[in-house]
């Protein structure tokens, strides 16, 4: 162990290396490390925000969907109601119309019946007279016996 100038030389080299590291190595690398740390923290925060926003959006979408469904159901209900109303209306109309048709048909029938009856009466009267003529073998004065004939015909 002999100490010599090397001691001083090594002290100087050591000092220079420490100074060099302090000035040119440590701070840029620490800065890069800090910057990266900040960047990563930022990224994580952004991811967290995105996550929250996504959850929020999903919830919003769900709500919208629910609203839409409710609206659709309402519209459907209204439509159903309207349809049944229309059907009901149509039914009422049809029933009225049918009633009316029936009534008019009945009136017609009545009318026809009356007409037929009247005709039949005339014919029976005519037949009765013809029969009476045959029985009496003589002319009956239709005009003179008109009231009798009418009376007879009315009884048929």
């Amino acid at each position: 162990m002999n100490f010599n100038l090397t001691l001083i030389g090594q002290m100087i080299s050591f000092g220079v290396f420490v100074w060099f590291t302090m000035t040119f190595v440590w701070s840029p690398i620490m800065k890069a490390l800090q910057d990266r740390k900040a960047k990563i923290a930022e990224g994580l925060a952004a991811a967290e925000r995105g996550h929250q926003e996504k959850a929020l959006g999903e919830q919003r979408a769900l709500e919208t969907l629910k609203d839409a469904k409710a609206q659709a159901a309402e519209i459907l209900g209204q439509a159903n109601k309207r349809a049944s109303e229309i059907v009901e209306e149509a039914k009422t109309d049809a029933r009225g119309e049918g009633q009316r048709l029936i009534l008019s048909a009945q009136a017609e029938i009545e009318h026809e019946t009356n007409r037929a009856r009247e005709e039949l009466r005339q014919q029976v009267a005519t037949l009765a007279i013809a029969a009476a003529e045959k029985i009496l073998k003589k002319e009956i004065d239709v005009r003179a016996h008109q009231s009798i004939i009418d009376d007879f015909a009315r009884q048929i």
């Binding site: 100490f3 010599n4 090397t6 090594q10 080299s13 290396f17 420490v18 620490m30 890069a32 910057d35």
Partner: protein, 289 residues
């Protein structure tokens, strides 16, 4: 081991433990020392060229590499080199944060420098002991030098000059911050007024003075001792290669095992030197006691 035939074991070991010293010899004049004795005779005003060369070369290589990485360091996705440097910086930063409670932007870079530099200087131990000295001896013999008088020690931390230089720098830094943080009075008070109070002042001075001075000494000697011993064992193992086939084969195994174990030692010693420096500086920054 080309030198084995011409050298005794003792001479071989001696050769490996002699620095390449440049200085003024009282009789030979200015030049390289031709033996350990001559190197010692040069006194203080001589320079261990090998220690200086390898330490500065390693420091320059690694710190210029760090500088290059730091220059283009981005906060984005780091590439391999940046990742590597960041891992080291992060490790040091974490350790400094753990054991240094004060606020001083100089401590962490200091710790980084110590760890990286000491680690690399220690790692020179893993090169085969004869490789660089032999190559250098052959190279110098081209210029007419006797390879037996060309010395080269490749592990700068096995030279006490290096370890004491670093420990002294750390010691001066500790003294500087002790005075800066506590004031001259506070620092002297710490040295003289405890643990026994005013009346035990002589005892206090002895106790605290020893504990203060033991810090750099233990710091330097620990690293030097570990590296010197490690190098010595490599040299002893290398001696075995000249002892026949059986010895040579077992030497190969031993060298491998010791090298693997040495990986742990060089890392550990670099780490210990760094951690203790940080701890001493932390003590210097503590104003209360």
């Amino acid at each position: 081991m080309s030198t084995a035939e011409t050298l005794t074991s003792q001479a071989y070991i001696q050769h490996h433990l002699t620095q390449m010293t440049l200085g003024v010899h009282p009789e030979q004049g200015f030049g390289f020392a031709h033996s350990a004795k001559e190197a010692a005779e040069m006194g203080f005003w001589a320079l261990n060229i090998d220690t200086m060369f390898f330490s500065i070369l390693l420091g320059w290589l690694v710190f210029s590499f760090f500088r290059k990485v730091a220059e283009r360091a981005t906060a984005g996705v780091p590439d391999g080199a940046q990742n590597f440097v960041e891992a080291i910086v992060d490790l040091i930063d974490e350790n400094v944060r753990g054991s240094f409670s004060g606020k001083n932007p100089m401590v962490a870079p200091l710790a980084l420098t110590i760890f990286v530099w000491v680690f690399l200087m220690n790692a020179m131990d893993l090169l085969p002991v004869d490789l660089l000295p032999w190559l250098f001896g052959q190279f110098m013999s081209l210029f007419g030098a006797n390879p037996h008088h060309v010395f080269l020690r490749v592990v700068p931390t096995a030279d006490p000059n290096t370890t004491f230089a670093m420990a002294l720098m750390v010691f001066f830094t500790v003294l500087y911050y002790s005075v800066k943080m506590k004031g001259v009075g506070g620092f002297l008070g710490e040295l003289t007024l405890q643990p026994f109070g005013v009346w035990g002042m002589p005892a206090n001075i002895i106790l605290e003075g020893i504990s203060l001075l033991s810090k750099p000494v233990s710091l330097a000697l620990r690293l030097f001792g570990n590296m010197y011993a490690g190098e010595m064992i490599f040299i002893l193992i290398a001696l075995m290669y000249s002892g026949g086939t059986v010895m040579a084969v077992s030497a190969g195994g031993l060298q491998f095992v010791w090298a693997v174990f040495h990986i742990l030692i060089i890392t550990l010693q670099a780490f210990i030197f760094m951690v203790l420096t940080v701890v001493y500086l932390d003590m210097a920054h503590q104003t209360h006691h």
